[in-house]
Symmetry: C2
Subunit: 329 residues, 2 copies
């Protein structure tokens, strides 16, 4: 990008991810000339503190993007579908956190540690992957390069913040005795995401993970199987992962590869109860791996436990990192 | 057993599992002549209501088992190690819910739907398997008979009631603002069980599941891999299971096999949000399977979700069922 102090906008600035995007932009000293906070008419006029100033939230319209260079969208799929093209028409580059554009063949789907080169192929929109996908990709990528992935099995342990502030409020409300809305209680329980439209036996979340994994890693037929579960946890996603490789593995090397990878840290000493948890990664930008061990049920196989703050690395942080890469192009 | 109205004892009668044993004995109209409730000296003298009567808890001693025909033990491993042999010496048959005797080659480890014939081999003690093992065994057994198991991968979603009433109280206390004791918070978090003594990278719970699965199914080298996770759930264990088979599978047949198996029920209509959860199985004696689908990441593979009340089928109910089988021999 020729302009390295761009005008930026955050769309959906009042939501859980939008507010975290502002925090991350500030923490990372993201350079910009002007910042615009956009949201639906309902939130327009409200004030948000960022960078030590009070910003007034403006209503999102098709004309919001004049003179905006980069817009970070986190306002839901239908809003992205409607307004991202308008932003692009104004010459703005959109980094979109919704699922609206992720599988569009013209839209790069990017985890900066994994496929930063895809950013260059953008035609105005770059998609931020699903939270549960993002945290697994750097792990799969680094190990695939070394040993060639043969099969991926993953069962997720996802926090309710994946459903935004409304989800968090619902869980806390239930714990305070509120009546359960919907078919399944969240408190003290497990639930699955909504069924996908195209496959009756798979959830939307599981289908996203399958498709996005293959697109990000550029392995169209990678054998993957996901079971995604939502839990009474406020923030942080964990994943129980079983991997098989084509080549012979070395557990110590795997540990070193993961620990030395950008944005990743190995936290793994079971004997002393040291492993990452949703609580331990709260507010952190990295991806944390623990319980790294041989899976003796197959040849060249391992099991591990991958945890990240889903609102940070799984959403806001990854989007800001994509924007940072844009400045370097 | 020649006597079909035996004198019975419940050891650890004041604990979470002990109290549930009494409930299940009553619900199942378990025939007995006399009932003795035993516990440590701390609990001796307290009253427990069962079968419409007030029973006084007696202190457990080596002489407690005179004239007792069947004793259901749920008082921890060290108590079982110490008192089960004394009970056997008195001519009593012990059904033990602790892990103390499970891997003893002289002790049958029984899930009545799976290996009832092993009961006959007892020499005084019959072991009740670990909760997370029990609920998976009938699933594995019925599918193994039809298609021959090749590999089992399972990630568990376990409630804190696996740690007894103390665990439940700890979670509820944390939710009310109590200070976190120990390294990991239970509320809004995930944690692993204690590390095993023999293997630094595996938890006790995972090792139990590996060893017990192979012993119950009588497949000494079955490739199995478990990741056991404790969650902020009060009761009910769920398991995300990936199975590979030697023979070609038929999903409809699998559904029918599971649904028509003793003690098992298929609850599986994702489109209408129908699947078993820890909440939905609360207080039930059965094993519930949902999310039954092909695992396209391997040949002849499926994924499914198995849920049961860990205090019931995972402990008390299974022990009572073993005692019922004893009466039939």
């Amino acid at each position: 990008m020729q302009n390295n102090t761009p005008n930026i906008a955050v769309v959906g600035a009042t939501g859980l991810v939008g507010r975290t995007m502002l925090k991350v932009l500030e923490e990372q000293n993201f350079p910009f000339a002007d910042l615009k906070l956009l949201a639906s008419s309902r939130s327009a006029g409200s004030k948000i503190k960022a960078f030590g100033m009070d910003y007034t939230v403006e209503e999102l319209t098709e004309n919001s993007f004049e003179n905006v260079d980069i817009a970070l969208f986190s306002a839901g799929g239908s809003t992205s579908k409607k307004f991202a093209p308008a932003a692009v028409k104004s010459g703005c580059i959109v980094v979109d956190n919704s699922s609206a554009w992720r599988m569009d063949t013209e839209v790069p789907l990017v985890v900066p540690e994994v496929n930063p080169e895809d950013i260059k192929l953008h035609k105005g929109i770059i998609a931020n992957p699903n939270c549960s996908t993002i945290q697994l990709m750097p792990v799969l990528n680094v190990l695939n390069k070394k040993y060639t992935l043969k099969r991926v099995i993953c069962s997720t342990y996802q926090s309710i913040s994946g459903a935004g502030q409304a989800g968090v409020d619902k869980l806390l409300g239930e714990l305070e005795g509120n009546k359960v809305e919907g078919k399944h209680q969240i408190a003290f329980n497990t639930m699955f995401h909504a069924v996908s439209e195209s496959q009756e036996d798979v959830t939307e979340e599981e289908l996203k993970m399958v498709n996005e994994t293959r697109k990000i890693l550029h392995i169209a037929d990678l054998p993957v199987m996901y079971t995604c579960v939502r839990l009474p946890i406020l923030g942080g996603h964990a994943e129980s992962v079983n991997l098989e490789f084509e080549q012979e593995i070395d557990l110590e090397e795997i540990r070193n590869l993961l620990n030395s990878s950008e944005g990743m840290e190995v936290v793994d000493d079971l004997k002393h109860e040291v492993y990452p948890t949703p609580q331990s990664v709260n507010g952190k930008d990295g991806i944390f791996a623990g319980r790294i061990r041989r899976d003796h049920s197959a040849t060249n196989a391992i099991a591990l436990w991958v945890v990240a703050d889903n609102v940070r690395k799984g959403a806001a942080t990854n989007a800001v990192q994509i924007a940072q890469k844009l400045l370097e192009i």
